[in-house]
């Protein structure tokens, strides 16, 4: 048991830090600093830099373009990218879909889809939730009927509605859970389909969330024709893929390195802001206690994640224990957002999104967007399987209840 970094690991940290410094796209940095919504191209700038360098897919197997890094190197990587406020790589293709394809897909499917995911050429979105299927995902109703078309080939005809499709407005392709056997038990009649978003019959409609952003969408599917070869794994066994994907989604969701970075920012804000008595807010007895407790909880999460990673490096994939990381990770992210908003006091109120000129700079820079982030951040304990569903998973899979 030790926490020491080897000289090689320290050299790796230096290399990563230098690479980010020299190669992080300046225009992306500027857009982030201005807290404005990113364009589709901006979202992919950093992805493409990393793809070229060979560092975009640390989680993939080495033979498919993974970095072959040790768990410690991956830890250093996430620390350094968070420290430099690098835009997180979009997860839909890279860390949600790709593991399903390389675990359950055919060689042809791997060849067809993985390189474009790797290089950021194709933007993927997720078609899981439905208006009537949220936490009870297996009750989904979007229907896929198998037909033989006039061209002699087999297709699925997909009808239904998906919702909460994040950044679906930019998506080239989507991965969808659809019901292929309406008579089977809920989990057994589902298939996993890849659908070109340009296929006739697909409509994407924005959902504006409470902080005013356009991040999620409804997706309507009206007689959408999907070639059978776009199905991953066996017909009616898509739930297996879905579960594997959700476990991967959960393990990355802890966001320890980013929360450490946000804690640093919170401390800077609270050292600048004044308490009622005129001292630094961070020296106020009540406020600092909340910061200290959060810091300790974050340390506990970090070491729980390190223990999980150590377990994974001995060959286990992310297991149901990763639900702990999802629950605690999202709780901590939300507390950080609340405390940052609390720290800026009055200047949490101005809604700056649509303002320009002198109005756009009202209040300190660090207060910009904090309320929006806090409002938007309430999603984290709801998505990816709500935190209540995570407790059900632990109860069943870990505690045997």
């Amino acid at each position: 048991m030790n926490l020491d970094f080897t000289p090689e690991e320290n050299a790796f940290r230096d290399e990563v830090r230098a690479f980010i410094k020299e190669n992080y796209p300046a225009e992306l940095r500027k857009a982030q600093d201005e807290h404005r919504p990113l364009t589709k191209d901006e979202y992919l700038l950093w992805h493409k830099v990393l793809a070229k360098k060979g560092w975009v897919a640390p989680g993939w197997p080495k033979e498919l373009g993974g970095t072959g890094w040790t768990p410690t190197q991956k830890y250093i990587w996430s620390e350094e990218t968070a420290r430099a406020d690098c835009l997180p790589i979009l997860p839909f293709g890279m860390s949600m879909l790709a593991p399903v394809i390389y675990t359950f897909g055919t060689d042809e499917q791997k060849k067809k889809f993985l390189p474009d995911i790797y290089n950021g050429n194709v933007w993927w979105c997720q078609g899981y939730s439905e208006p009537g299927a949220g936490s009870d995902l297996a009750s989904l109703k979007t229907k896929a009927e198998r037909i033989t078309a006039d061209d002699g080939k087999e297709y699925y005809i997909v009808n239904g509605q998906k919702t909460w499709t994040t950044l679906g407005q930019y998506a080239d392709w989507g991965f969808f859970l659809v019901r292929t056997d309406p008579d089977a038990k809920p989990q057994s009649g589902i298939s996993f389909l890849l659908i070109d978003m340009k296929t006739p019959g697909i409509t994407v409609r924005p959902i504006i969330t409470l902080e005013g952003g356009h991040e999620v969408n409804d997706v309507f599917l009206d007689n959408v024709k999907v070639p059978v070869e776009n199905r991953i794994f066996h017909e009616n066994q898509g739930w297996t893929c879905a579960k594997a994907l959700l476990a991967h989604e959960r393990s990355g969701i802890a966001g320890v390195a980013r929360s450490k970075r946000n804690l640093e920012k919170l401390r800077t804000i609270a050292n600048t802001e004044r308490s009622d008595t005129g001292s630094a807010l961070l020296s106020d007895a009540f406020f600092r206690r909340k910061v200290a407790e959060l810091e300790i909880d974050l340390t506990a999460l970090e070491f729980t994640e390190l223990r999980t990673l150590a377990g994974e490096s001995s060959g286990k994939g992310p297991g149901p224990e990763s639900s702990i990381l999802k629950i605690k990770g999202t709780e901590i992210q939300q507390r950080l957002q609340e405390l940052a908003l609390e720290a800026v006091g009055h200047y949490g109120a101005p809604f700056l999104r649509d303002l320009s000129g002198s109005n756009a700079t009202v209040g300190p820079d660090y207060a910009r967007g904090l309320a929006g982030e806090m409002f938007n951040g309430r999603k984290t304990s709801i998505y990816g399987g709500s935190n209540e569903i995570q407790r059900n998973i632990i109860a069943k899979m870990v505690l045997g209840l």
Binding site: M1, N2, L3, D4, F5, P71, T72, Y75, R267, S275, T277, S279, A280, L282, S283, D284, A285, R288, R289, V291, A292, E293, E295, I296, D297, T299, A300, L301, F303, T304, L306, R307, A310, E321, I324, I327, K328, E388, R391, N392, I394, A395, V398, L399, G400, L401
Partner: protein, 380 residues
């Protein structure tokens, strides 16, 4: 970075666990602690002679197993699972810690005595007014020729009835709460002027009020530097906290496992109560508390050897463990319902130990304040 145990550490764990499974079941323990003397010297002898674990954190030159904090952690976690009352913490961790770090001339011999099971220490630090402030010391040691004269009253000295020696903090200069002017002394329990009032504690341990009245100490009784003993005290207490966190992990695991087991067999409304979601989620939250406590205990025991990080790491861990002891302990009783209130079931005994650990060496509030100071600087 590495979170695995060495083969020797795993063997140590297995050895301790196997011995306790054979000799330290709940009924046996309950019978022993309910009457005098409240511990089993033969178990201590077995720790020394059969298991050899009293040398776990000492170097091989001193006759030990060549381990350190991680070895203490392994032993203490197993002890927590069995609610062991024998004085490993006071003797091996604290007594041994003072001797190792102080460079005391008699350290090698005394450590030899610890490893053989013959020398047993109790840490006489707390006082009626001190609460958790290690610098609050009213007991005095006055220079007397080459030696010292000791006077004072030490409160709730855990394991004192079993001890052969006390480690005593005393004021050799300065005022009652000054950080300067504290010295550490080795005092034989049989020395003239030492008296004790012995009593059981609520969690089945034994403790004493210890009184020193004009106790004459030789020059060699001083452990570490005169007047500047506080940093040494803080270091050893931090090591003791890290070890206590490990004991807590053992206690917490048993509280959680016991609750799972009980709710699976207890039936109400025609079904096991473990099938109720409100109880399932409570047990998941208990589980998360236990896992986070284990993570923080690893963290603290890895960092306790690093003087730059030690204090902050240990206080962070103690905060987490203190909160977990309260949450897991109280919910374990709640989920056992009326049965949780009985002396007959083990669960209540684990709860009592968890509750005492919650405030041992400082409550959650104490360690939060210490952590705040170390991490965020002075309060306004």
């Amino acid at each position: 970075m590495d979170f695995s145990f060495t083969e020797e550490q795993s063997m140590l764990r297995d050895t301790v666990a196997a011995y306790l499974a054979d000799h330290y079941d709940f009924d046996k323990r309950r019978a022993v602690v309910s009457k005098e003397p409240g511990w089993r010297p033969e178990v201590w002898k077995a720790f020394a002679e059969e298991l050899g674990i009293l040398g776990a954190p000492f170097s091989e030159e001193l006759g030990g197993l060549g381990g350190g904090a991680i070895e203490n952690m392994v032993v203490m976690e197993e002890f927590g699972k069995a609610l062991v009352v024998e004085p490993y913490l006071g003797t091996v961790v604290i007594g041994g810690g003072f001797l190792k770090h102080s460079g005391h001339a008699g350290a090698a011999d005394l450590i030899g005595g610890i490893i053989e099971g013959k020398t047993i220490f109790a840490f006489a630090q707390a006082e009626p007014q001190s609460r958790y402030n290690l610098a609050s010391v009213a007991t005095t040691a006055k220079k007397d020729g080459a030696g010292w004269t000791l006077n004072g009253h030490k409160a709730v000295v855990i394991g004192a009835p079993f001890a052969t020696h006390f480690i005593v903090t005393a004021r050799t200069a300065g005022g009652e709460r000054d950080a300067q002017g504290i010295s550490v002394f080795l005092v034989e329990k049989g020395a003239k002027g030492v008296t004790t009032r012995d009593y059981p504690t609520v969690d089945g341990f034994r403790a004493s009020e210890v009184y020193f009245e004009n106790v004459s100490l030789g020059a060699d009784a001083l452990i570490g530097p005169a007047d500047q003993g506080l940093p040494l005290v803080e270091k050893v207490v931090d090591e003791a906290i890290a070890a206590t966190c490990a004991e807590a992990c053992g206690v917490l695991r048993k509280l959680h496992e016991g609750t799972l087991e009980y709710t699976k067999q207890r039936k109400q409304f025609g079904q096991p109560i473990s099938s109720f979601q409100v109880l399932q989620h409570r047990m998941v939250d208990m589980f998360i508390n236990v896992e986070q406590a284990v993570s923080m205990t690893y963290m603290a025991n890895i960092k306790v050897v690093d003087d730059a990080e030690r204090a902050k790491a240990v206080s962070a861990a103690k905060v987490q463990i203190g909160k977990a002891c309260k949450f897991v302990g109280q919910n374990a009783i709640q989920l056992h319902g009326g049965m949780g209130m009985t002396d007959e079931m083990a669960i209540g005994h684990y709860f009592k130990r968890a509750t005492m650990i919650e405030s041992a060496f400082g409550s959650v509030d104490h360690h939060l304040a210490r952590y705040e100071f170390l991490s965020l600087g002075k309060a306004a």
